[in-house]
Subunit: 158 residues, 2 copies
Amino acid sequence: MKDVTERTGQEPSKQRLRVWLNLLKINRGIEAELRGRMRTEFGTTLPRFDVMSALYRHPDGLIMSALSSMLMVSNGNVTGIVDRLCDDGFILRVPVPGDRRAARARLTPAGRQEFERQAEVHEVWVAELLGGLDAQECAVVLDLLTRIRMNETESHHV
Amino acid sequence: MKDVTERTGQEPSKQRLRVWLNLLKINRGIEAELRGRMRTEFGTTLPRFDVMSALYRHPDGLIMSALSSMLMVSNGNVTGIVDRLCDDGFILRVPVPGDRRAARARLTPAGRQEFERQAEVHEVWVAELLGGLDAQECAVVLDLLTRIRMNETESHHV
């Protein structure tokens, strides 16, 4: 069996670095594009969309710390985002029984409806931006990304 | 030929959304890990490392706007970062001939040395965090990511 460097013309660590830099670039490019479209189309931001998405998946609501840990986009100021979504009538704060200081954030019916409207278009955009991949290639990418994540979890806090 | 939904059990747009959400998660996880290690090991940040990396690849220096557009990590306050790297003796501002108000940022010899020291360890970390992929899988990922990027560029500003 040939040496890895010989087969690929690159040291393995250099090649993994290239993978990482490409992941960063793609992430940055797609996020910038989605950010612009969310602003133009819905007058909203990715962190706002992200907060609504997490709450949509948890109809009973989430306390702030749970919400923070769930966000896909950089957290930003979650409390501030929730405050503004409350002002807009998309989120309601409900008391947590047995803890007078805590509150769960929950989507209002208007919030659920608004999120569904945004999510539908967001999905079309993502499908368009990732349109270079067909179904089989998507499956391959998903498989390889899962492998990275499993290994990454093992490598954490070494 | 079978319908895509039939073959994969998912609508194509749902599958591409899954790819995107996985890209986001991986990006977020690896960045968080690298951020922590850069701070602990070198007392530095990813945007600082990123600025030094761009300048390392441009030994003649870069004006601020060129530097900003080149950064991989979110830009942050590039001017502020450059100011602090100047204070640390890692960057020098050199005048641009014919434009009295402009200046190029350039790494000092100490800056080049410090970046090399950090980059070497950074590469080892990335290789470890992406250790779940062998050389062939890296090549497959790179190929598929390139396809996303090419399509993404076409989809921009539609």
